[in-house]
Symmetry: C2
Subunit: 117 residues, 2 copies
């Protein structure tokens, strides 16, 4: 196989992989929600509602379901009175930690770049 064609195939796979990631992490809220759970290890519904600026309970509920379906988070019901619900990252969800940390660091640098300059 010629080299140019090989490279092109390779880049197509990479593009697909990136878009696969973005399909799972789609929308405005997924990353911030995961970040909230990630930073605190365990987090409750109402806590996340406060952490993620601007999200509504309806959206949060929907997004949490999707994240659970994709095996990124786990929902844990504690039988207190009234009921308490904890969310935490699965092992697979924890593989996003690097990305979260990079995005955190990048957000800080970006603010400096745009505002500071």
């Amino acid at each position: 196989m010629e080299c140019a064609k090989f490279e092109s195939q390779e880049h197509k796979k990479e593009m697909m992989a990136v878009q696969d990631s973005m399909d799972v992490l789609n929308g405005k809220w997924k990353i911030p929600i995961i970040s909230s759970i990630c930073f605190y290890s365990k987090r409750r519904f109402s806590d996340i509602l406060n952490d993620v600026a601007g999200i509504s309970n309806k959206m949060l509920s929907k997004e949490l379901k999707e994240l659970e379906i994709n095996k990124l988070i786990r929902r844990i019901v504690l039988d207190t009175q009234p009921v308490t619900v904890q969310y935490e990252l699965t092992e697979h969800g924890k593989t996003l930690q690097t990305i979260i940390n990079n995005l955190t660091e990048w957000g800080i640098q970006h603010r400096k770049e745009i505002v500071g300059k």
Copy 2:
């Protein structure tokens, strides 16, 4: 300052930073577009249109503008006939490379996790 409060402040800053990042990288297309340019170093309008599955020219045009405003990419017009336009990452845009690579790798692993399991 007590420790719990300090930690809380710290996490709030982290949450803000993540959301700052997501504001810049918002929507379905920004990351794939940047990825396309990143993988190929330089890339033309119509090439990106092909790389990013499902995007319309209208959207691509809009997104490229926003990325340029945020100093992530640079638009270079070559006076060929007809006109050719190259897009490339700025120095600041290149600081996203780590994140792109992580997302690529993660996309591959995630597919294995969901499909393979």
